[in-house]
């Protein structure tokens, strides 16, 4: 542990720019200079030298040392506040501002800029520089999603270290030297990998900015909510920034067990789903818009005393999956499940492109590992085994079910976006996106992580768990004790022999909780070794 982290443990801030807990130490910004001393020992005997009062005499190093490269050891003393340390900070702040452009009014970083913050806290407060400032390329396109302003760059090299060490895409470097050093890509190359926006997160100033977020919103207007990315089973922790119910951007949240401080670019873009053209906003029966309660009643009617098939989803939350399982038990329905699989990038985009496949296992929806096709459903439909299908968000044509076989079956579709199945459905009930509801996912390491709603749902819609519980109540005539979201949790966590018996929602909202995965140890999980993940080596508390 270095001095910066140690001081933070004690609530003492050591300002720093180039140090990042997840990257190698560069030690070039010199902002974290502190005074360091170690207990003196007698040269010959090795005995500790003591002061008059018996405390060990400390030999203070005459020059300040950088905190990020100083590993703390037994007996070491660090001064984070002293005349010398204040001078150092004022000096470094002054040097950083000497060639820095006066861009605050037009810079996106304002409000979350470490140059602003540390200048206020530790700077001298006035400028002594009257010469001309260096001129470098401004607002250049570094890649499809990143804009670079070289004048603002303080040459901390965090972005270069990130590209080399984490994204494994060595495409950034400094050209020229001295104060004219400039960050750039080789002409013809771009910062275009799927982790390019992480460099924007870690850039302490407004040199690297997100082109998507450029000039959209001042950060002090943003409401920040904690969420979980649903792009894949990696389960990156995210922060959803919104204002007045509109999401402005998504950034990663630190979780040392899951995603460190990173997430994919494609995961960040998922907020655009909220307002996409395919969004289902009105409940309907046979193509006619109706109030939600009526549609739910109709659906419940259609699910009573018939031969039912349920196509569940690995995108559903754990709570929804439990409710669907109760529904399946109640109606003796057959449950089908398909997985969404693609390439694993070995970092944070796993081969399993659904956030909660393991939730389907834990909730008992299935005992086997799903494939990406629903071939048995297709066959059973052909044999006329089902009168009605409850489909949760899936696209049946994409899953290998022929539309021929669907001709004689009523489909009840619950989902947030239109697809080839929803347009064939008799009853369409709008579901909510992850941003508009609360729920839990179990990620590839069998970690249970929960999230709360970040923005309000569209007018007239209800969260998916409420829809399923109402259908359940109508069909069974029971379950009247499910009134709130917490009631759902109480229901399934108190099941006989439940592995979730010691868990509650507020805990899993706060931190990731490890789930006992032994029951599914033999299944052929597709994920490959990646960041914080070794296949089949699940964490057990």
């Amino acid at each position: 542990m270095n001095a910066v982290e140690a001081a933070a443990l004690h609530g003492s801030e050591v300002p720093h720019y180039c140090y990042h807990p997840k990257l190698s130490v560069a030690g070039n910004c010199r902002m974290c200079l502190v005074e360091m001393g170690t207990p003196l020992r007698d040269r010959a005997s090795g005995e500790a030298i003591l002061e008059d009062d018996g405390s060990p005499k400390i030999g203070w190093v005459p020059k300040p040392v950088i905190g990020c490269a100083t590993n703390v050891s037994e007996g070491m003393h660090i001064k984070t506040e002293s005349a010398l340390v204040s001078e150092c900070r004022e000096g470094i702040m002054e040097f950083l501002l000497v060639n820095h452009p006066l861009d605050c009014p037009i810079c996106d970083q304002a409000g979350e800029c470490r140059l602003q913050e540390f200048a206020t806290d530790y700077g001298r407060g006035y400028s002594r520089y009257i010469e001309r400032k260096n001129v470098k390329p401004k607002r250049t396109r570094l890649g499809p999603r990143v804009t670079l302003d070289d004048e603002r760059c303080i040459l901390c090299s965090r972005c270069i270290r990130f590209s080399q060490e984490i994204a494994k895409d060595d495409v950034l470097g400094f050209v020229d030297r001295g104060s004219f050093s400039t960050l750039t890509c080789f002409p013809g190359k771009e910062l275009s990998n799927n982790y390019s926006l992480n460099t924007v997160d870690i850039c302490p100033v407004g040199a690297l900015t997100s082109t998507d977020f450029r000039f959209k919103m001042r950060v002090w207007f943003l409401k920040e909510s904690k969420s979980i990315c649903f792009e894949s089973s990696a389960g990156c922790n995210t922060t959803v920034s919104s204002r007045e119910g509109v999401i402005q951007r998504i950034t990663p949240r630190r979780n040392d067990l899951v995603n460190d401080t990173w997430m994919t670019d494609s995961g960040r873009a998922l907020y655009k789903l909220v307002d996409s053209n395919e969004r289902i906003l009105r409940p309907s029966v046979d193509g006619t818009d109706l109030p939600l309660n009526q549609v739910i009643s109709q659906a419940s009617l259609n699910l009573k005393n018939r031969k039912i098939g349920i196509v569940a989803s690995c995108h559903s939350t754990l709570e929804e999956q439990f409710l669907i399982r109760y529904l399946a038990d109640e109606t003796h329905a057959k449950v089908f499940l398909r997985g969404h699989f693609s390439d694993d990038d070995g970092i944070l985009l796993s081969a399993d492109r659904s956030p909660n496949l393991r939730g389907a296992l834990v909730s008992g929806l299935t005992k086997e590992y799903p494939t990406s096709r629903l071939n048995s459903l297709d066959e059973q439909l052909a044999s006329g085994d089902f009168d009605v299908l409850l489909v949760v968000g899936e696209d049946l044509a994409d899953s290998g079910v022929s539309s021929e076989n669907l001709k004689n079956t009523d489909i009840i579709f619950v989902g947030s976006h239109q697809n080839s199945t929803s347009v064939l459905s008799k009853i369409v009930i709008p579901g909510l996106t992850v941003f508009e509801k609360s729920g839990s996912f179990i990620n590839r390491s069998f970690l249970l992580q929960s999230f709360e709603e970040a923005i309000p749902s569209p007018v007239g819609l209800k969260p998916d768990w409420m829809i399923y519980s109402e259908i359940l109540k109508i069909i069974s005539g029971d379950y009247s004790d499910i009134q709130t979201f917490d009631d759902v949790w109480k229901l399934f966590s108190t099941e006989n022999g439940s592995i979730l018996s010691q868990v509650n929602f507020s805990d899993s909202l706060d931190h990731a909780i490890s789930i006992d995965a032994s029951e599914w140890a033999g299944l052929p999980f597709v994920e490959k070794e990646a960041l914080n993940y070794v296949p089949n080596k699940h964490l057990i508390n």
Binding site: G27, T70, G91, F174, G178, S181
Partner: protein, 452 residues
Amino acid sequence: MSDSKPAERRLILKNADDPNYSNRISCYLREGGYKNLEKAFKMKPEDVGEEVLKSGVRGRGGAGFPAGMKWKFLDRKSGKPIYLICNADESEPGTFKDRQIMYKDPHQLIEGMMIAAYAIGAKQAFIYIRAEFHEGARILDNAILEAKEAGFCGDRILDSDYSCDLVVHRGAGAYICGEETGLIESLEGKRPNPRIKPPYFPAVLGLYQCPTIVNNVETLCNVKHIIDMGGEEFSKIGKPNNTGTRIWCVSGQVMKPGYYEFECGALTLGQMIFDVCGGLRPGRSLKAVIPGGSSAKVLRADERFSGKLKDGTEFDWGLEDIPLDFDGPMSAGSMSGSGGIIVMDDTVDIVEAMANVNAFYAHESCGQCTPCREGSLWMRKISQRMCNGGAREEDADLLLSVAKQIEGRTICAFGEAASWPTQSFVTKFKEDFVRKAMDSSSVRDPKSLQLI
């Protein structure tokens, strides 16, 4: 000042300027070359290291750190290969001694390096030579070929089991490659940004993160002489803690500038300037001397230096009394550095001299760490403005403040190298700066010596 002209002792440069001595191996062998390599190979490697430690020889590249002790810090237990690097980047302004050795007597360097490699158990040795020494690199390449053919270098040296290949690596014109970790980064093929120490001490984590020793050309040549006469005898040359000879490079406004090899402490600065180098030009008087390359603090001609030496004796010197060794200039508040003595007379505009030096450091800063990168350029801009008629009263204090903010806060010693000249010029020649602030003309006197 003594009456007689002190005599050089040409230990390293014994044959270099002999008209009948060329840089071919035949001449080197004729003068007893490679005998000490044979002698060293009959000793155990640790014993070779002991001799170097006993000799007390200090690094002649600028830092003056005892070479024997540096070799002792080497991590021999890691199991990783050990490397020896000769720092032939000679870029310190005022220094031109290594070029004489490499161009005129390259085999002495090769022998010294092979002895050192044997002593530390090096797997491979490199000579990092600056790109401007283009012919020097060719001369060294030829010399290495000759040495290889004769079995003094490369595979199975002197028919023993010890092999060590020697590679000449050219730089490309950057001063920062003279810094040992900057050199290692450059040798690895990366931008020569010096490394943070701790943890990257070259003796532990050097080239390719393996234990590495970096020594100056002159230091490595001394290794040969140490084996020749024995460490004990060597330590008797010069003075305690300042052993051996040093090649001093005198440049600037003297009548006979050049390189001169003397025993440490054998003469004073005054004797060097006035006796050996023939004094200043007619009608001129001494104004300032930089004793150890442009990174050293400047000394005023009329300054007095007093205090206590390491052995307790008191001293009270004028500029001319400073003994030329390692500790002398250091006691006077400067340093002997790389041995480059730059002499300035009264035609020099001190502010312009400082501006010249500041421009050098601003240009050569690698740009890695904040204080040096921004501070050196800021100081250059201030000095340039002052020399173009824009000097203000507060500029002298501003320069001091900026220099103070750089010193001690950087990754490598370049921070000190950039800030010391400014600090010493401003502090010691305050009146020149005051005068500059009052003179706001931007028109240069055509008769004045232009330095910026």
